[in-house]
Symmetry: C2
Subunit: 320 residues, 2 copies
């Protein structure tokens, strides 16, 4: 049982000091590696790790092809400001071919996890000689895994799988007692720019988790374009998280007076503090109509747009 | 080219007089038959037909099993008030077995049309000896068919199929120059009770058009229950039409702390005058959240609810 540190209890200064010491003590004179996704959790871990280890922490960003537009370059740019070098690894083809033909969401998640760990990151770790892996696991990830909800690629230890044996390295998880709001406080205290640590959460499997049905290059392009529209238009909404989900179901549409049997995008926009519970944001109806119109005009193949009105639970934040 | 009569031009008294005379002149001393669906169009035609022919018009209501709860009994009850007998024909099994295994929306529509005309209604017509078929086709049906949108089961004539040859009867379509708003004026003038002619439109293929994917007994039950909730809660919304659509896509949910990979209902609620164009109704956000909560608690298997925010065009009013 991991002891939660609530935001009330959290003293950012001493938390950072303590974690930096822990990382430093654990790694000793060795080298560590971490995979940065650009989310708040892995960004905060990257900052903590470099504070503790300097250049003895190697930070890689794996371009899996499932990301938002220009994601790797944007993230690497943020860290360049801190003198931290982020290595971008292009693994697009490996992920796409692992996902080919898979429609079951669990199998999709497994294919991504498997490709990430066993193939791409596993290879990099082995080649690097690093024995220590820094990970941004937070308490919410563990809650959900234990409850059997979604597989999180970063909780092998909690599932009883020995990461030492499984992948040949030791996992260090400095954020494990925090929830999202606590991590944001730490990120802010570490000097992460607000545009970085206030970025809305983006799931591990990224756009693949926003696509119901098979993930192909073309469908990724559709989900990516819709995501750009939603993120641009809801940037100042103050919401906890917002996303575009590409459905597999086809719906009837009409274009140029002709039948157009097209695709549907579902928009979800959440109010939440820590992602444990969430409710749909009461966006102005004009905003919703403008969002639908923008997606329909800018994303080829979309004839219908919906807005999620269910809460978590029983819904989850992501659809897949 | 059929000449439209707009509501501005429409004189209900002389329109009714003229159509009653036309029906009377066409049928002569013969007998006619019509299929009543309970929608505004077929109800208005039933009134016109009985005004012209009295008991020489036989009105049947085909229970296809794709209807709202108690639909046939409710409709027959309305007409009993006018001394008009509506014969209810139970054909549930024939429709369900025709729909078995079909997921393509066009094929579903064809199976329903085929079962309705060739099998059930065709048989009734032949057995009745009637040579004249009254139909509630309106101008909007023809527009959409000509543009190739949705097949309407009631526009064989406009598609160049000779109904005389095809089914052995002649079609009389007294409402063909009107749109929905005009039909409502006529219905009102004929004395149809407001709860009848103000009923929200319900499509020919009924709940089958509200189910994406295969139509089974169980999925019909799900769509029927969700429809009941939506119709009850939006009865006083003043909207043109509202509906619940059962999706085939599965989404992740959580119930009793366990993963519940469930189904999604999409709610559509439209503002429109004549169904040619339509926009989503600006319902209060509280209403939307209450709708979602009610559907999730009352309809087994549903973990997620969305609200349509796209307009027609490019969306259509129905999803399938």
């Amino acid at each position: 049982m991991i002891k939660e540190i609530t935001t009330k209890e959290l003293n950012t200064g001493s938390f950072i000091e303590e974690k930096v010491k822990e990382i430093s003590d654990t790694v000793g004179t060795g080298i560590a590696i971490n995979a940065l996704s650009g989310g708040v959790d892995s960004s905060t871990v990257t900052m903590l790790g470099h504070k503790a280890l300097g250049n003895r922490l190697r930070t890689v960003f794996i371009q899996n092809g499932l990301m938002r537009e220009n994601e790797p370059e944007k993230v690497a740019g943020f860290f360049r400001e801190f003198g931290i070098h982020v290595e971008i690894i292009d693994a697009k083809d490996e992920f796409l071919s692992a996902l080919k033909g898979i429609t079951d969401p669990e199998k999709k998640r497994e294919a991504i996890t498997e490709t990430f760990y066993s193939k791409v990151f596993g290879r990099i770790v082995k080649e690097s000689g690093a024995r220590f892996l820094l990970q941004g696991t937070i308490l919410t990830d563990i809650d959900e895994t234990v409850a059997g909800i979604k597989r999180q690629h970063n909780v092998f230890a909690q599932l009883g799988i020995d990461p030492q044996e499984a992948f040949g390295y030791q996992i260090i998880e400095p954020l494990i007692q925090l929830r999202k709001d606590g991590v944001r406080m730490i990120g802010k205290a570490l000097g992460l720019p607000s545009e970085m640590f206030d970025r809305i959460p983006f799931p591990g499997p990224a756009l693949a988790a926003r696509i119901i049905g098979e993930v192909t290059g073309e469908r990724l392009e559709t989900a990516r374009k819709a995501t750009m529209v939603v993120e641009k238009m809801l940037k100042n909404s103050g919401a906890f998280q917002y996303m575009a989900i590409l459905h597999q179901d086809r719906v009837t549409g009409i274009r140029d007076k002709k039948r157009d049997f097209g695709q549907q995008i579902e928009i979800r926009c959440w109010d939440s503090v820590d992602a444990r519970t969430a409710s749909p944001t009461n966006l102005p109806f004009e905003t919703l109509k403008n969002l639908a119109a923008a997606i329909i005009s800018e994303v080829p193949g979309i004839v219908s747009v919906t807005y999620n009105i269910a809460s978590k639970p029983p819904s989850t934040i992501e659809a897949v």
